[in-house]
Amino acid sequence: MELYLAVLFMAGLVAMDTTSGPQMLVSEPLVSCTLFGLLFGRPELGVMTGVLFQMLSIGYMPLGGEHFTDNNMAACISCASLLAAQRMFGLSGAEESAALTVMLVYGVAVGVVGLHLKNYERRLNGIRAGNIMRRLKHGDPVTVGSVHRAGISASFVKGALMAAVLVPAGTVLCRLILFLPLPLVNGMSTASHLVWGSVAASGVVFYLAKGRSVVILLGSLGGIAWIVFTKL
């Protein structure tokens, strides 16, 4: 129960930090998933999930006006679901990797849900701001601070509520892996390594769009040289 409450609290913080504040980027998948990993006593699994989600979302910019899929909440909820499932059902090595693959896709769906909730939250903020401006126009006393803090709190509550519903759902999804035929589980397990190709493409495309093809190539060649030298 304490763990569940800690997950809700951290999800609230992630939702808040994404745009409302303090935007110290503790909401980024690399950080939030690492923290979840530590919380559940499986830091290496948290880091691995974080690295995959982070690489996927490296190019997105959390600009106020941007309508972005909520990648931070996606990573946070998927990682928490995976770790909770691992803890509750004791998934073995291949099952755990297969669950990671499932959670990567689940994360994409959570991100789309997060996008719609974010838009709704912003509409509410617009209504609150409109009310304040109307009251100021009529000369009524207003307290900007409390209205603004209500907006920040709404972000926190949104994140906690998303986690309250979507983490148990994700955990159940991971549980279903135990009922799948072994070849499929093994395939999904291997897929958790193969998807790196797709994940890396997302990061590379971002830097390529900035016209950095030569330096990317240099870095890749450096990586290949490193592998060759260390294997020799």
Partner: protein, 254 residues
């Protein structure tokens, strides 16, 4: 008597520190219609309470700061500092009007948006992330620490520096946006970020336990496929699940 009056109305270190802390929550009530208007007014509140003790004047102060405002959250301290100076000048009746403040906010907000977004979201964040990811692949949880330190230390220092610079220069602070060092810094971060992402893309696979040739081959195929689709602007939420599907099938036949 006059000097006592001026001392009372001057925002001190405490006021600036409160503005600095509040600036972290500038986007707290972000809305499509008014953007960061409430956030800006929230940041300015400590100054308003010092400068405008008369309730009518204070209401006018709030009214001009709940106007539409949109800027980069990190760089907005530059605008906040300058507006504090302008409010102070307005309070002492030394040549700044309410309309001047409104106009300045309207111009300075978008200007910080374009420079600040390019600096923080497009250069510093990805650079810090790639550095953090590289560390995470090799040293686990320390990757998150490296990322947070690389991003937040310069971001916090610059927030404070810009707040003070804004206050020092008033509405002339807009020249700070043309600072050559910002452009050089962005370029360096972009270049190093590019090198590190290339390195990371290759090195991660070297970490795969029992890495076999087929893993590298299929990863390369998925890389090329995803790369091509993403370059053609297919959305990630379609490309990624599709490539996971292919990866599962490939995993089963391997």
């Amino acid at each position: 008597m006059d000097s006592v009056h001026e001392t009372v109305n001057k925002p001190g270190f405490g006021t600036f520190f409160r503005i600095f802390l509040r600036s972290f929550f500038l986007q707290g009530s972000w809305s499509q219609t008014h953007r960061q208007n409430l956030g800006f007014a929230y940041c300015m509140e400590p100054v308003g309470k010092i400068l405008w003790t008369d309730p009518v004047q204070y209401a006018r102060f709030l009214k001009r700061h709940t106007d539409y405002y949109n800027g980069n959250p990190f760089m907005s301290t530059l605008v906040l500092g300058a507006v504090v100076r302008m409010e102070e000048t307005l309070r002492h009746g030394s040549g700044v009007t309410e309309d001047d403040i409104r106009r300045f906010k309207k111009v300075a907000g978008p200007a910080t948006g374009s420079v600040g977004d390019g600096m923080f979201w497009s250069a510093l964040r990805p650079f810090a992330l790639v550095l953090g990811l590289l560390c995470a692949v090799s040293y686990g949880i320390y990757g998150a620490v490296v990322f947070l330190a690389t991003f937040n230390i310069p971001a916090c220092i610059l927030r404070w520096y810009w707040l003070r610079a804004g206050y020092r220069h008033g509405h002339n602070v807009i020249t700070e946006l043309k600072n050559r060092r910002i452009r050089i810094g962005v370029r360096i971060m972009d270049l190093f970020g590019g090198v590190l992402i290339g390195l990371l893309a290759v090195l991660y696979l070297a970490q795969v336990e029992n890495g076999i040739a087929a893993v590298y081959l299929w990863s390369a195929i998925l890389f090329i496929l995803s790369f091509t689709l993403l370059r053609r602007r297919y959305p990630l939420y379609l490309v990624f699940p599709a490539s996971v599907g292919i990866a599962v099938v490939a995993g089963m036949v391997m």
